[in-house]
């Protein structure tokens, strides 16, 4: 992978390059070369951009985990292309081999990069600030003054100002006189180790995040249940309409609590936009008395170590169907699925248990606030102002005995015929709430007794959540430290020249640093407090007095962008660069 994606040519084969420093390019050499490429910043960058690119199709194409129905629709509409896309994993991008390969390589690269840096940083943690360089003038940020104060006192003032508040790690040193330079005392100071610490912590926390999420995938379970007012369910896989669990979950280990929906409250504004949903439930945990709770959209309920969410709601008309013999063939609440914001809801009634004659199927809509004029019927408002069932009637064999599981929201019309009127047009049965209407063809009657609501509940158990949050917060803190803690070095050299004390300082930053000039000035201010001092001819006073523009222009010139986090573990590279 790394080999093909890197333009750099392979080193010459071993026999042609007998130098002892070059590794033999056998299997081990090749592996080492691949490893070096993989952990290089260039490949890491390519992998990052690749990760961005491979994420895109998942937002453009329907995804099976999120919306399997949309995937099926896409496959129906684009049979040729769809089949190929499906084979290549485009309908489950984020579990696909290629997506996984990219992020796993990226994390491998991250590990390979971060481990050596931890070692370097650990050594640097104990290291002393580097000794004062010979010529301060080479630095963009430098300044000097002469004072009548005692050299020892000036040195101490400079040292103390840097050491104050433990901001800097400070060393003092003595330089003997040479042929060209007088004897000098120096201060070396360095601060900002936390910058690299933060950087390392950030990357390790990302790794932790990945592990936590993966662990959660194995340990989590999720169930969805549709519960009508007055009914309940128990926390067992069989009680859920859909249930999925991670590979490490034992389905028998679920905490067997029961949850009952006492009532559901929905409020809408005058335009029909929802403003408030609340489910009142009774939770009975094993060995505990039943407790009343409420669940709202942003306020899940904690039950048995899991969270129960309010995921949806709708109406479940309570109906009674009598067959042609007058026997009750069906009685119960049938959930209808809302189709739009007005809660025009679609549903199916299947009546297999007739005492005589054909089985009955009823398909149609519930209109909570029905407005029926001539041929058109619609719902004007989501609340039940004038609930009406508008159904079409089928007779024949529902096909429920074939053994194939059926969708409860769909009528299998293969063995059925639609009941039509004398004119040949399908008969539509219109049933207002509280009324009973005869079915056509003498099939019996239908009563619309009550209109309870139902809620769709999502239950999710994921023990990794605390870890995920912990790693995320750690990553954020590490990131902020790595970007905002300034890494600075300040040097001071004190010499005696012509009976006065010359104090020179210079400073260097790891990255763009607007505060660097202030450090130098603070040191000199501390010396100035000892007594009268004069500027030194040629010191860059003008630039230092400039609060903005100029100073920053100098600073960014002072620092190469390759500052922090040398990917090769070369964190001391600025010394060479000067």
């Amino acid at each position: 992978m790394a080999r093909t994606s890197t333009p750099a040519p392979l080193p010459a084969p071993a026999p042609a390059a007998p130098g002892p420093a070059l590794p033999r390019l056998g299997v081990r050499g090749a592996l080492r070369w691949v490893w070096r490429q993989l952990t290089s910043m260039r490949v890491a960058l390519m992998l990052l951009m690749l990760l961005a690119v491979v994420s895109v199709p998942g937002s453009m194409l329907p995804q099976r985990p999120q919306n399997p129905a949309a995937v099926a629709r896409y496959l129906r509409d684009n049979p040729d292309l769809g089949t190929w896309l499906d084979r290549l994993g485009f309908f489950d991008v984020y579990s696909s081999v290629w997506f996984s390969a990219v992020y796993l390589l990226l994390f491998t690269s991250l590990v390979g990069c971060i481990l050596p840096r931890i070692a370097v940083h650990a050594r640097g943690w104990r290291a002393r600030p580097p000794r004062a360089p010979r010529r301060f003038e080479r630095f963009e940020v430098h300044d000097a003054l002469v004072t009548d104060a005692d050299p020892e006192a000036a040195l101490e003032a400079a040292r103390a100002s840097l050491a104050a508040g433990r901001r800097f790690r400070v060393d003092t040193d003595t330089e003997p006189a040479t042929a060209r330079t007088p004897a000098a005392r120096t201060v070396s100071a360095e601060r900002g180790y936390l910058r690299e610490t933060g950087n390392i912590v950030f990357h390790l926390a990302l790794l932790g995040l990945l592990v936590a999420v993966a662990t959660g995938q194995m340990l989590h379970y999720r169930g969805q249940a549709l519960v009508v007012e007055g009914r309940g369910f128990a926390n067992t896989p069989a009680a859920y309409d859909t249930f999925e669990a991670g590979t490490a979950v034992n389905p028998d280990s679920l905490v067997p609590f029961t949850l009952e929906l006492d009532s559901f409250t929905a409020r809408f504004d005058t335009a029909g936009k929802p403003t408030f949903f609340e489910a009142a439930v009774t939770l009975t945990e094993p060995g505990a008395a039943p407790q009343d709770h409420t669940i709202r959209v942003n306020r899940p309920l904690d039950a048995g170590g899991a969270h129960v969410y309010l995921a949806g709601n709708g109406y479940a008309p309570q109906v009674t169907v009598r067959d042609s013999a007058g026997q009750v063939a069906f009685s119960g609440a049938v959930p209808f699925l809302p189709q739009d914001a007005s809660y025009r809801s679609r549903g199916v009634l299947k009546v297999p248990d007739v005492s005589t004659g054909d089985q009955i199927g009823l398909v149609g809509f519930l209109l909570p606030t029905a407005v029926i004029t001539g041929d058109s019927a619609y719902s004007a408002y989501p609340q039940p102002g004038n609930p009406v069932l508008v159904l079409q009637v089928w007779r024949g064999n529902l096909g429920l005995d074939s053994g194939v599981p059926q969708n409860v929201y769909q009528l299998d019309t293969a063995g059925m015929t639609q009941v039509a009127g004398a004119d040949g047009a399908p008969v539509t049965v219109v049933v207002p709430l509280g009324e009973t209407v005869d079915l056509p063809d003498g099939l019996g009657s239908l009563s619309f007794d009550r209109l309870p609501r139902y809620v769709a509940l999502d239950l999710r158990y994921d023990p990794s959540l605390g870890w995920v949050l912990g790693f995320a917060v750690t990553a954020l803190i590490g990131l902020a430290l790595s970007l905002f803690v300034p890494r600075r070095r300040v040097w001071v050299r004190v010499t005696e020249e012509g009976g006065r004390t010359l104090v020179r300082t210079a400073a260097l930053a790891r990255s763009e640093d607007v505060g660097l000039v202030g450090e130098v000035e603070q040191v000199l201010d501390a010396v100035r407090e000892l007594g009268p001092a004069d500027r030194v001819q040629g010191s860059p006073a003008a630039a230092l007095d400039e609060p903005n523009g100029a100073a920053s222009a100098r600073l960014s010139g002072a620092v190469t962008p390759g500052g922090a986090a040398g990917r090769d573990g070369d964190t001391e590279d600025e010394d060479e660069r000067r």
Binding site: M41, A44, L45, L48, M49, L51, A52, S55, V56, G58, S59, M60, Q63, P65, Q66, V93, V213, R222, D269, K273, P274, T275, R296, V297, N298, R299, P300, Y309, A311, R460, L465, V468, L469, V473, L476, L479, L483, F484, S511, E512, V514, A543, E546, P547, N548, G549, A550, S552, A553, R554, L555, S556, G557, T560, P561, G562, A564, G566, R567, D573
Partner: protein, 367 residues
Amino acid sequence: MNVAELSTIVVWGATTAYALAFGAFAFDLARRAEVSTARRVRVAEPALVGAATGSVADPTGGASSTTRPAEDGAAVTDGGPGADTDEPRGDAEDAGNAEATDADDAPAEYRPGRALGIAMSVTTLGLVLELAGIVLRGIAAGRVPWANMYEFTVVGTFVAVLTFRLLTLRRDVRFLGAFVLGLSVVALGLGLTAFYIPAGAVEPALQSYWLVIHVTIAVIATGMFTVGVSASGLQLLKESRESGSPRLSHPRFGMLDQLPSVRALEGLAFRINAIGFVLWTFTVMAGAVWAEHAWSRFWGWDPKEVWSFIVWVVYAAYLHARTTRGWSPKAIAWFSIAGFAVLIFNFTGVNLLLHGKHSYSGLDTGS
């Protein structure tokens, strides 16, 4: 007229103020160009005098230098801290040889003029108006006023302009004004015309204090990235001009010579983008926590989540490119621009074209 309508009118007022400020900033940039042209002309290309100054009010180079002292006065009372940045002075030195022979010509150096003062005042006025519009909108809706695209646009431009305005207090980045204000005027215009919906309550999924936390930080991050990309864009233009791009070497772009160095612009863009990146990281994390509360999963690869992730990854690549030796400032700036482009798509394209759980524009996009 009710409170909501008043809010809209005030936001229109803010947009007008920003448009005026944009004009004044643009005029100021043109002046910078004029100064630099005048210098260039004297130094090297006398034949170009007519053509070069033709676009400016003064037909002759001499006239433009006689008007300058008056503006110098204004600049001094202005404080004009950025007036003598290193950069222009360096240029003046480059040109020094030629100017020395031309002794009686006043040194052609840009000084902030009245246009810049007007631009800054009107920008501040616009900020006050926009803040009033935001507060009124919040009162009218009875909630925090950033729950749909229109409101997000208003608050986002407010933060972008405010960030710019606050930056000018510490550093002379007024040259960024035309870009930040120009982007804001376009965004506000779109918001008021295409994204506008009346104030109202929000659906239960949005009724959470996370709306305040998650969206506020997202808006601030967007404002930061806007200022950052302005700096990156200027950096690229300046760099092209310096490397002799035939299109940008036209005197019309002389204002680029007055800007801080490419390095300094790059550093400025980095500092702002770095803040934006940390805020964006927080935005994504806060969004995940909210999703855990509202949608029963902290991450579900919803289109908005996907694109927020892509924004994060591209800006992460930007930061890595910066710490890699051997990357030119130009390449780095392109990362910054790519990140911003993805950010804008995340706000517009994902809301309007891709249908996910974040479709809160309030607009009927006909799914």
